[in-house]
Symmetry: C2
Subunit: 313 residues, 2 copies
């Protein structure tokens, strides 16, 4: 939630000369995401988000992320396009960082989504799935089962300091998921992190889907499971909210009905998605230095979701 790399207006103006986007008239560092430095730029022609990728993003993955965004944008979905410069390149170097300009999209991220908004997100998510069929680049999910196992091992020594019983919850869930994780469900390119702060709304209409920096190819219905976790509970995970949760799935299935195997696996996928965010938050909770300019997110909000899904099983 900060600007890690300061880019002077002079450097930004020089950077823009390599593009056909007009000249700079405004640049504001914005507190967006947790991984990168972002600026909202306005030129004489349009507005853009300039992202400088900080160390947590693997540079080798950037062509996949930007290619996927462009693929979705060209399919007519409300996804920002990566802007190419006069040489046809979207990825540049700026202040020692990989940097890219994407389209600015209007809309606001809601904190307490309504059922109508959740329905619209379900529709959009299924549209991403269908559109992604014709995208040919590849990226495996770096935050799937093997990563959960690594994070669980790393977090084991202090999990019970965060909350007594947390280690057992993680170990039990992980063992069951590892044993039963489906291997024959349809795959697609998935967003894998479509939380409310990554969706822009104008009223109840999805005007933007952003932050594709966990996108990958994985079980298609796992993306729905991530969304059911992110949109179907209050923020602290204490209350499941039936209306937006059901509306999201209804929206999704209105575009892309789940097959019988997907339906059967969905509760397990939802447990997996809850465990994934529990583990990454728990890992960050302990390993984020106090000096980092980020707000740590509560891992227990996802421990509660995991417990809830296990109680439904």
């Amino acid at each position: 939630m900060a600007v890690y790399t300061h880019v002077s207006a002079e450097d930004m103006a020089t950077f823009l000369q390599a593009y056909n986007v007009g000249t700079l008239i405004s640049a504001k560092g914005i507190a967006e995401g947790v991984e990168n430095s972002n600026y909202l730029l306005e030129t004489t022609k349009a507005r853009f988000i300039l992202t400088l990728y900080e160390k947590r993003v693997n540079a080798a993955d950037l062509p996949y992320f930007l290619g996927l965004m462009n693929h979705f944008a060209q399919s007519g979905l409300p996804v920002p396009r990566a802007v190419t410069n006069l040489h046809g390149d979207a990825l540049q170097n700026l202040c020692g960082r990989n940097a890219c300009m994407i389209d600015f999209l209007s809309g606001v991220s809601v904190s307490d989504p309504t059922a109508l908004q959740a329905h619209a997100v379900g529709v959009a998510l299924a549209q991403l799935r269908q559109s992604s069929d014709t995208f040919n680049m590849a990226r495996i999910n770096s935050m799937s089962l093997p990563a959960w196992q690594q994070m669980a091992t790393a977090c084991a020594p202090y999990a019970d300091d965060v909350q007594p019983g947390l280690r057992a919850l993680i170990d039990t869930s992980l063992a069951e998921l590892a044993a039963d994780w489906p291997t024959n469900l349809p795959t697609s390119h998935i967003h894998a992190d479509l939380f409310p702060d990554n969706v822009l709304f104008l009223g109840n209409r999805v005007s933007g889907i952003i932050d594709f920096y966990f996108a990958c190819r994985d079980i298609a219905a796992y993306d729905l499971a991530v969304c059911l976790n992110a949109w179907g509970f209050d923020a602290d995970g204490k209350t499941a909210k039936a209306e937006p949760m059901q509306a999201l799935q209804r929206g999704y299935e209105s575009v892309q009905p789940l097959g019988p195997a997907e339906h059967a696996a969905l509760p397990l996928l939802c447990q997996g998605a809850a465990l994934r965010f529990l583990l990454s938050r728990l890992y960050d909770w302990v390993n984020t230095p106090a000096t980092a300019m980020v707000t740590r997110k509560d891992p227990l909000a996802y421990a509660r979701r995991l417990i809830w899904w296990r109680a439904q099983a």
Copy 2:
């Protein structure tokens, strides 16, 4: 350089209903200033900066700051106007903070001002001085000699840890300034903090003067002294830059020539301005917790300026 208070899109939309500004279509937390939380809002009618005042701003001073900004805006100067709501109030409560919307102004803050830009700032500063004659609210300078003495006392135990000899530099300078500080120079409302990051440019034209949260009534030429420090050196204070420094003063005097007493006092005022920022940065250097989401500014950049001014005297 951070957003301290998160305002949900829903709360922001509700907040805007008290204004005649249209409905919200975008809201981005921006990394602007060091004291407050700021959002760049776009509505169906216009763009605004929404500021939530954090604890370092004295709420009792806000009517002065906003009144002065409106006074300058009404005088045709490029200063944002504080937007009033349907009840005529500019100051509201939002998420437990005092909050105000001001006009968004285009332009970028330069890091390495040219002589032309410095000249334009000198002109604008003198215009502020002249326009402020007819503004009738009052605020004393909370960062003048008495505050310097308090900060010097607080910093004395560790000044030499930051750099050997710093305590003696502060003590000697402060004693001389306290003995000789002028008491009969013309006063005006002054910005008192018109650094390059508080000025927006479109090319070489000043398109915005922002961040009036140190404004006060004090010696008019002291505002020029602050600017000569802020615009007339490279950032770390190691090199005085004759061209922008002279251009800034030329620009100022092209609008508002200094009187003989002001000319005579200017070198001392410049020492005072250098000491003021040396002390506030030194104080913050030691007293800013590592967890604060701000970038501490180097006090030595102003120790070097102070030494430079003393060498000219």
